[in-house]
């Protein structure tokens, strides 16, 4: 019975996620469109609501090309390996007070551990394509993701210290108890998280692995059709996961005035978080690789460490 429930839940989450990704893409395109004095997608369905569906259908119908010189097995495996971990992390996310899959004690650790596997897909995809641009893109991507994993984890530590638990539900409940979202005592941590999450996700201004003006399309240059769709799916699933994680850690999860159910609050907060990313993409130019690395190692990590020290002092002093 338990197994059936698990499978059922997984399927529901997957379907919900597919819908979520569909509309996240639409949301992104609309936001960026409006910021660029244009309309964004509006041809398919009212308000362009079916645009992404049409795009996905087109991708599925396309010819599946595997370059002759590619390392076939790894080439095929890479998109799956990119997608699987970004989907797996949804197991520990709690959408509302009652809606969740696993109430894991080490939810934070699980999330960070599993999600960092995504970079394997990037590396394998870039390597196996046997294309110089793909290789450059994937090497840049891995370097960037490894570097920014560290400030990401360190910024989360502050929350863990304050709440004293690694259970994601526990963290939200703790925020409920003290009557304050962690964004206030952990503002520095939130900013560091926000920045390193962008780098983790390879989003603009840190979209170096797929910098289309330099590396054509980075690690997925040679991918087409549904394999490419998988990479896109992985990217947006991971984006949703990271923003859901941020909502849980810093923005009080499903907490909010009672006139709306918890899940609505949760999704609203996620949307705000994602809006910031889209806004960044519409505004900023791309950073350069060495600046990106310098910023990560020389600015973000010291700041994150500082944040941990401050948090520890607050913890002891305030007696939370």
């Amino acid at each position: 019975m338990d197994l059936l429930y698990m499978v059922l839940f997984a399927v529901v989450v997957l379907l919900g996620l597919l819908g979520g990704v569909t509309y996240a893409i639409l949301f992104e395109r609309k936001v960026i469109g409006w910021m660029q004095i244009r309309n964004g997608p509006n041809r398919h369905g009212p308000w362009g609501l079916f645009q992404t569906i049409a795009d996905v259908l087109k991708l599925l119908m396309k010819e599946d090309i595997i370059p002759a010189a590619a390392d076939r097995k790894i080439f095929v495996l890479a998109p799956i390996l990119a997608f699987a971990p970004s989907f797996t992390v949804f197991a520990v996310l709690s959408w509302s007070d009652t809606l969740y899959a696993a109430d894991l004690n080490i939810g934070v650790l699980y999330f960070l551990g599993v999600s960092s596997m995504t970079m394997l897909g990037v590396l394998m995809g870039g390597w196996s394509s046997n294309n110089k641009y793909s290789l450059l893109g994937s090497i840049r991507g891995v370097a960037q993701m490894v570097s920014y994993e560290i400030p990401l984890v360190l910024s989360v530590l502050g929350v863990v210290i304050l709440s004293g638990t690694m259970n994601l539900r526990g963290i939200v409940q703790y925020q409920d108890d003290i009557g304050m979202w962690f964004i206030i005592p952990q503002f520095l941590g939130f900013v560091i998280y926000l920045i390193s999450a962008i780098a983790e996700l390879n989003r603009s201004p840190f979209d170096l692995p797929e910098a289309e003006s330099e590396l054509v399309s980075g690690y997925h240059t040679e991918y087409s059709g549904f394999r490419y769709a998988f990479f896109m799916l992985a990217e947006y699933t991971y984006a949703i996961a990271i923003s859901a994680f941020a909502t849980t850690l810093f923005l009080g999860g499903w907490l909010g005035p009672a006139f709306l159910p918890g899940i609505v609050w949760f999704i609203l907060k996620m949307c705000i978080f994602m809006f910031i990313w889209f806004w960044l993409r519409a505004t900023l130019p791309r950073a350069r690789v060495d600046h990106l690395m310098q910023f990560g190692w020389k600015v973000l990590i010291p700041l994150a460490l500082l944040n941990i020290v401050i948090t520890a002092v607050i913890k002891v002093w305030m007696g939370w």
């Binding site: 910021m35 289309e212 003006s213 130019p285 690789v289 600046h291």
Partner: protein, 369 residues
Amino acid sequence: MSIKTETMTLNMGPQHPSTHGVFRLLVEVDGETITKAEPVMGYLHRGSEKLAENFLYTQFIPYTDRLDYLNAMTNNYVYCAAIEKLLEWEIPERADYLRVIVMELNRIASHLVWWGTYLLDIGALSPFLYAFRDRDICLDLLNEISGARMTFNYIRIGGVKWDAPEGWVDKVKEKVKELRENIAEYDTLVTGNEIFQARTIGVGKLTKEQVINWGISGPLARASGVNIDIRKEEPYSIYDRFDFNIPTREEGDVFARYKVRIAEMYESLKIIEQACEQIDEGEIIHKKGARIMMIKPPAGEAYTRAEASKGEIGVYAVSNGKNKPYRIKLRRPSFVNVSILQDLLIGENIQNLVAIFGSLDIVLGEVDA
């Protein structure tokens, strides 16, 4: 003991998003440092100079449009000016004013395209669309006077094809104000941006000696402190009647080129405003110029140059007294400017490649003629 390493050859183009056309750049990289760069061109070669030899003088004007298609007015102008030099014709004053207005409008449009696409190369998406909105203002004005948005074919040997439509000059004055405000907004969006500055300041430096030795002209040269602008040097047309500055900077890096081009747009706006104030009624074409099939310059040869948005554009025209040019040589600024890549890229980091390449502002139609 040393480890045996190999350099990697990276083939950038002919199909690459940042070459802005069919252009190929063979770079050899040692790790991340470029050790050799070789531009390969000719994919868009149409033999314009050969075509010219089989055309009547006027027939070649539409082909000059297609050299630097972003700045077609100046191409039109410099070709016509070369033939006028051979003919020794006086150009009616109103025609000169109209020429200056359309050339400067076109220069702004060309710089805007550079601005937008360069930021697209750097990775910012929105400036591209803002720039194209403003470019459209220029193109709409040019469309009204010439009947085309890019390949104008407007300037004729001896004058211009059409007079300005009613109210056009006032409209230009109005739009100049709008453009000035919009360009000011670009500064807020981009110029001060730290990420942008970090990518451009100190990158791709060109020294004054390099500039002169490699024959670099236009904003590229002026960003390296070489104060050459043919509009001031040998004022052609009626440029000596306007009060404008030549923006120069000493740094010679990508950011300096950016600043020079932005400043040049303001100067162009100033020229347009003055020209719109001074313009008078009158003839628009030399009395013999209207009969476009009958143009027959006396035998002779002349080199004429003008300041296009990319640099010095020149036409070397040889006439043998017949109704077809004996030889037309086009000195295309992009063609000369692109040769610096072999020198400029050596020792640069590969991550700066696109930033440097984009800052040259080449148009492939012009490189390949």
